[in-house]
């Protein structure tokens, strides 16, 4: 969001016309790419620092994590671990190795499972991405339906609509999940209690994540929706004899969803992290169980691997939203 604000496109001087013309649009795109690159680099650095910050001797920790014991180790035991993870190198060398590894798609080696982190994550990430995608679609459908139905009506309906937004936005996923589980899986038996990977098993976990997200996006959309309802173009449309539903769907909605589009990058990150709790509740496969086990056993390469991937997803999604704006917004056209 701040990328959009910080882009100085409006007051760029039209000086360089004679030389190689750099349009403000191109410059703003380059600025955004550089900004995203810096954030990615910062995220990788934070992940590296987290691994170094683990208290105690790392080789000892790795051996203890692997064996599930807590004991002092002899130098003979530690030597192969130090060699394998390059722990005898200076920290700067380790840092550069880590960054180089990330560029090649190497997230490090799990302390506990003794195999590449990427392998562990890639086995499970599909289920989480499927859940995330279904959640985002469901959240948009619920949000658009609810806001179009209740925004800008009489004062009572308006208050009710935005009240529902506030309440649902604050619902913790574990609680909503338990309620849905009790009503629709145990009570009515419409859905399986244990998620699984089938189409039927994804409905309740996705709804659990989508309802609060819809409430959250609804709050942003509702404000813009009610503002757009008073806009001149709506009056024009009314004068042309267009019906209320048509105006809401064809004119107002288009303006009103922009803040929610801006939230998409954030929403993807928030949904993936909410998925950790929901996957645990519905015993669904996914990176949630990988992450919970890794946090519990201090398997830091796995934890930082997941965290870096989610941060990268957030940055890329935000970048795409920003670039889409740059390309769509007619005010950005270089005359």
């Amino acid at each position: 969001m701040t990328h959009t604000l910080s882009a100085k496109h409006t007051d760029a001087p039209p000086a360089t016309r004679r030389r190689l013309t750099v349009s403000p649009r191109a410059r703003s795109i380059v600025e955004k790419l550089v900004g995203a690159g810096i954030v990615l680099w910062g995220a990788a650095t934070a992940a590296f620092l987290a691994q170094v910050a683990l208290p105690g001797d790392r080789a000892t920790t790795i051996l203890n994590v692997r064996s599930g014991q807590t004991q002092l180790r002899t130098p003979e035991e530690l030597a192969p671990i130090n060699a394998e993870y390059g722990l005898q190198d200076p920290v700067l060398v380790q840092y550069l190795d880590y960054l180089g590894g990330l560029l090649r798609g190497d997230l490090g080696i799990s302390y506990q499972q003794h195999r590449p982190v990427w392998g562990i994550i890639s086995e499970q990430v599909g289920a989480t991405l499927a859940l995330t995608a279904v959640t985002l679609v469901l959240a948009w459908v619920i949000m658009v339906f609810w806001v179009t139905l209740t925004a800008g009506r009489g004062p009572r309906i308006r208050a009710f609509g935005s009240g529902v937004d506030t309440v649902t936005a604050g619902l913790p996923p574990y609680w909503l999940g338990i309620l849905l589980l009790l009503v629709f899986a145990l009570g009515l038996g419409w859905f399986p209690v244990i998620g699984g990977t089938g189409v039927n098993g994804i409905v309740l976990p996705a709804l659990t994540l989508a309802i609060p997200l819809a409430g959250f996006m609804g709050q942003a959309t509702r404000t813009e929706f009610e503002r757009s309802l008073d806009a001149p173009f709506v009056l024009t449309a009314r004068m042309r004899g267009m019906g209320d539903v048509g105006i809401r769907l064809r004119h107002v909605l288009r303006h009103a969803v922009l803040p929610a589009v801006t939230l998409s990058g954030w929403a993807i990150g928030a949904t993936i992290s909410g998925a950790v709790i929901v996957e645990s509740l519905f015993t669904r496969p996914g990176i949630g169980s990988v992450l919970i086990t890794a946090v519990d056993s201090q398997d830091l390469p796995v934890v930082t691997g997941v965290v870096v991937l989610v941060a990268a997803t957030y940055v890329v999604a935000n970048l795409l939203v920003d670039l889409a704006y740059t390309l769509i917004d007619p005010r950005m056209k270089n005359s």
């Binding site: 609680w175 145990l186 209690v193 993936i272 919970i292 946090v295 830091l300 934890v303 941060a311």
Partner: protein
């Protein structure tokens, strides 16, 4: 001067319009504070007394929230868990705001280069979702109530830091600061008397909402077994303990969860009211 003051007194009652939402959320939070300070005043039973003949009783007039697998009264346990849950929530929100205040003020007030660096740091930290950042910290520090406070506090700090930066920036660019500058006040006077008080005031609202949010995060982490562990009556620990009985005794998770939702909702509502009250005060 006196004229102005009289005017202010005369218009005050008009602004003191209190809504039902404000009263309800304030009373609700007040009850939670009572439960935290003097839990024995509200509990009908001993929260730690086990009675296996009464195990897994569903909610009734005797046991309002039912009993757990050891026959302990769940309502009393929820009341007794309030202190730790509130302490975790307030501690985490306080820590988050403290960190946010430092980062946000530097980002808004420092020179171009330090501000730029801190801005980037905030952006980087904001790329990590709260729960994941908190889980990363728990995996480094191990899980205990104190690390939970640190993890949730630092995990939610980046979002608050962006808010503080916005507040300080808008205060810095406001008319009254321009006026103070034109009057020749020194930088430190302007900072102390104008920018900080105006940027700090909204933090009361943000803190109120943050306490509720932090409790939700902390209990979520307990729910996946990475927060406060049973047999503590802390709310997250109650959820964790009740998970095993979802099919037979759903009240063990539904009711503590409901209490968390009520608290979070009351905190959000009260925070929003404080916020709009402060904004009105600024306009008037």
């Amino acid at each position: 001067m006196t004229d102005l003051r009289q005017q202010a007194v005369a218009t005050a009652p008009v602004r003191r319009h209190v809504s039902a939402g404000f009263v309800a959320s304030a009373i609700t939070l007040g009850l939670f504070v009572v439960a935290a300070v003097a839990p024995n005043a509200l509990t009908p039973h001993d929260p730690f007394a086990m009675d296996f003949t009464q195990a897994l009783q569903s909610p009734s007039l005797v046991h309002w929230f039912g009993t757990d697998e050891s026959g302990r009264d769940l309502f009393s346990r929820v009341i007794y868990g309030t202190r730790e849950s509130l302490a975790i929530g307030a501690g985490a929100a306080g820590l988050a705001i403290l960190v946010a205040l430092v980062l946000g003020s530097v980002a808004a007030l420092a020179g171009r280069i330090p501000a730029g660096i801190v801005n980037r740091v905030i952006e980087v930290l904001f790329a990590f979702p709260t729960l994941l950042l908190a889980l990363l910290l728990v995996s480094i520090l191990g899980s205990s109530p104190l690390t939970l406070v640190i993890a949730v506090g630092l995990g939610s700090a980046p979002g608050y830091a962006r808010m503080v930066r916005g507040q300080v920036l808008s205060s810095k660019n406001s008319g009254y600061v321009e006026a103070a500058r034109a009057l020749g006040h020194s930088r430190s006077t302007i900072l102390r008397q104008h920018i900080l008080p105006n940027a700090l005031r909204p933090l009361i609202a943000i803190f109120t909402m943050g306490v509720g949010q932090s409790i939700v995060w902390a209990s979520g982490m307990a729910f996946i077994g990475l927060g406060v562990a049973p047999p503590s009556p802390e709310w997250g620990a109650l959820l964790d303990a009740g998970r095993a009985y979802i099919t037979q005794a759903s009240w063990l998770t539904v009711l503590p969860g409901f209490v968390i939702v009520v608290l979070a909702l009351a905190a959000t509502t009260l925070g929003k009211h404080i916020q709009s009250f402060l904004e009105k005060g600024e306009k008037a």
